[in-house]
Amino acid sequence: MPDDGQLWRQWLARHGPALGLFARQWVTTSSDAEDAVQEGFIRFWRARERTNNDVGYLYACVRTAAIDLSRTRSRQQEVDERAKTPDVARPFAEEQGDLAHAVESSLSQLPMEQREVVVMKIWGGLTFAQIGDALKINPNTAASRYRYALERLEVLLCHEVMRD
């Protein structure tokens, strides 16, 4: 059985990239997304024994941290300053090219409640029950949001690809 130090590394290796993408749905830069992941992951790790849905709770912690950070940023009016310097770090791995850019652009056009479900399901690999637990919604609601999101994504991606 891995010790505690190895265990959190395994958790971060397994969920880290998806969590980064998840946090990026609320914040504008990759550094803010990493800050949210860091904050949420530490909060999760210290309290993980109190929950029976580890993965859902991890996403809930990162979500809360990202929302808090986005509110802080808008209060500090740093968004304008940061927007002046473009964030070169894209949410998807660079080598994946145009399709990744098209997905990023299409995702950003979805309503937030659909976006978060899509990221948790596709890149996080969570079940609808886990998603429902993390977002405090019924699993059936999570499933229907996901279905609507996929339908919309399909249309948006067609437009993006045709535009390119």
Binding site: P17, G20, S30, E34, I42, A100
Partner: protein, 100 residues
């Protein structure tokens, strides 16, 4: 879900999110890498709880024993039974039937 939906799902899943930076790993290591594990926390809480329970038992035993020890010792000064200066005269007077 439709076949098209599943195909799209699979295509999207093949796109990998950006890995987290080494700096983030370091920050988390600094924050929780050496922190005591929840198991250690539980052991500490168990030890503290056991100590408190033991202290409660000791205090309870002392409280239970104190009244017994105190009950055998009469408080001092004892006023009843101590003869007074005029007690003998009152006793003699009480023998006299004319005394009310």
């Amino acid at each position: 879900m439709t076949d098209r939906g599943q195909q799209l799902e699979q295509r999207l899943a093949r796109i990998r999110p950006r890995p987290l930076s080494a700096e983030l790993h370091q920050n988390i290591t600094d924050a929780i890498g050496d922190a005591p594990s929840p198991l250690a926390d539980r052991c500490l809480l168990f030890a503290i709880g056991s100590g408190l329970a033991a202290a409660c038992v000791i205090v309870s035993i002392l409280f239970l024993q104190y009244p017994r020890a105190g009950g055998s010792v009469r408080p001092w000064p004892v006023t009843s039974g101590v003869p007074h200066f005029s007690d003998d005269q009152i006793a003699l007077a009480q023998i006299d039937p004319r005394f009310p």
